[in-house]
Amino acid sequence: MNKRFALFAALALVFVLAGAAFAAYEPGTKMTVGFVYVGPVGDYGYSYAHNEGRLAVEALPWADTVYVESVPEGQEGPVIDDLIATHGCDVVITTSFGFMDGTLDAALRHTDVIFGHASGFKRAPNMFTFMADFYQVYYLNGIIAGALTKTNKVGYVGAFPIPEVKRHLNAYAMGVRAANPDAEVLVRWIYSWFDPGAAAEATEALIADGCDAFAFTEDSPTVVQKAAENGMISFGHYGSQMYTFAPDYVVSGQAVDWGSILVDFLQKVYDGEYTAQNIANIDYWWLMSQGAVYPEAAPGETINPLYVDALKAYMISDPVYGEISAYDLFNLRSSQFSAPGVTFDPFQGPISDRNGNIVVPAGMWLSSDSLITMEWAFENVVGPWPGEPE
């Protein structure tokens, strides 16, 4: 073998290997899906819920999955490159808003790989976005909270004052208003997605202000535990695993099935419908009607049976349905949210914010764009609200 030939052979080999590593996904074949999480999968919050979605993908006969947990925002670029180089991922899913630019850059670098980004708004021919949003579920939980509060004060422990949390808070407050026009929603911010000590003391501060029912955004069961300690009800966050911490006091909660979105999308990739060239306009915004989110207290249990009687006994005078029990209103709204053609939305006008501005005119529904940029606070919300429009 002469030298020139050896060099040629080596180069050819390199190209073949490189080609193999970067070959586009062939529909109908086995695919490898990589996941990049911002937190630990054991945190019983956001990344835990996403990891449940990954397990649904893993259960598909034609998909393998790998994941990387606790990736700080801004470090996703090299992690994605590594995932592709090490595991030959055909699809890479990133799950934090802060991964948006890094994922887009990676999509431009790896044009044969399909990317998915949760909670963002930037897309590319080989990058789609997806989101399962809780606001309808919060509205339903608000109905329960409004019906069960004795003090007419309902508490909310929020992570950061950002549109996503504000949207959930407002929907919750509207549910409370629907069941109990006299009740207020008191809010405290803890400025962290995970801080058990802060969540505990924020809950206690709300209790000191008279609250007796709690919803929250934080990745630990702290609020559930603190509420139960004081004999007060709460709503689990991210699925039913928080129920086990206070089975007598968790009335319902917000559950998400990221797997429903991912399986739907990947099936279309498997079938050859979605490729690395045609997904620039694919944006999953899935709610209750697609089954991506739903209220849940414990597995298979929408409302904790301990509270069903009280909810049936609590009568609401609804402008449309007249005298109706909280339990029936919950179920009615729930079926309206779940029906294929949605006939009701919490954010349908007329709605004024707490400063008296009309934020949704009569007869209008809020667009998804207005939903994801929401800054205003609903009328019955009390407490600090950074970034509030005048």
Partner: protein, 309 residues
């Protein structure tokens, strides 16, 4: 809710949140009084939190959990004692390493305990008679974890030992001037080992308080930086257990108030407040004659070798 019940709840929560800070600070005061700076408090606390939770869950007895946490963190702290006393290593680095090791080990081993509720938690108690005192009764003596009172008693006891007994004199002598202490027949190494262990045991109990009483559950990283506040508190308290108690409650009160006053004051300002105030207090106190009397142990973080210096 009336201002009275608001005040009661604020004081009560201050004690609840301040207790782990207090327990760990008392331990660090002893370690530093003997001349050993231990930046591994965060690591020792988290090891205690996991141990306490695991043992309490396994045995069904939360007190056994607390005890085990003290023992395990005490043993864990010996790594730092060995490095800094026997090997005379740099204490800043050894302490940082202890924190890393504690966070890492508890994170890896603790995976099996994530998300499990604890059936038998350390229940709150009320003190008969005392709880009847108006305002102060319900604020201090009603529905508190027994460890809150353990903390207060420990503060008084450890203050007494440090300033009123021979043992205390030995500890302070070792921290001030180990060579002289040595010449007086005090075993410098033994005192330092014991004091570091006291620090480990108390940090472990502080961690267990978090996982079996304050918020019964195990979550990775659940000490969330408390160990660093303890380092600050130790200096803030000028290495005095009684001041340590007030300091811990002061920090806790600011933390608790940061959620209660959120409607009126910028939350970022409130959260930064304890740290800024600590500096301000140090500036005020350091002026004048107080400085000399309440200064740090002179031999803090200096290893001792006989016949040198």
């Amino acid at each position: 809710m009336s201002w009275e019940s608001w005040l009661i709840s604020t004081i009560s929560r201050t004690l609840a949140y301040g207790t782990p800070l207090l327990l760990a600070t008392l331990g660090e005061i002893y370690a530093e009084r003997s001349g050993v700076l231990n930046l591994g408090v965060e690591g020792m606390m988290i090891v205690g939190a996991l141990t306490g939770f695991a043992v309490a869950g396994k045995t069904g007895n939360p007190w056994l959990g607390v005890l085990a946490a003290g023992v395990v963190s005490g043993v864990f702290s010996l790594i730092h004692a060995f490095a800094s006393v026997t090997l005379r290593a740099n204490q800043v680095v050894s302490g940082l390493a202890l924190t890393m090791l504690g966070l890492g080990l508890s994170g890896v081993i603790g995976r099996a305990y994530e998300g499990r509720p604890l059936m038998n938690t350390l229940d709150e108690i009320s003190i008969p008679l005392l709880e009847k005192i108006p305002v102060l009764g319900p604020a201090i003596f009603q529905d508190q974890s027994p460890l809150v009172y353990v903390g207060i008693i420990m503060a008084i006891l450890l203050w007494f030992v440090l300033f009123k007994t021979r043992i205390g004199i030995s500890i302070r002598a070792v921290g001030e001037d180990p060579a002289t202490a040595d010449s007086l027949g005090i075993n410098v190494s033994r005192v330092r080992y014991l004091c570091v262990m006291v620090g480990g045991v108390l940090a472990g109990i502080a961690g267990a308080y978090l996982s079996v009483a304050y918020r019964p559950s195990w979550t990775d990283g659940m000490t969330a930086g408390m160990g660093w506040i303890v380092i600050a508190l130790t200096i803030f308290a000028f290495w005095n257990p009684i001041s340590g108690m007030f300091g811990a409650y002061f920090f806790a009160a600011l933390f608790v108030l940061s959620f209660r006053l959120q409607a009126w004051l910028s939350p970022e300002l409130l959260k930064a407040m304890p740290y800024l105030l600590a500096i301000v207090v140090l500036i005020v106190v350091s002026r004048g004659t107080l400085q000399k009397r309440m200064g740090a142990p002179s031999a803090l973080s200096l290893p001792y070798t006989r016949g040198e210096d």
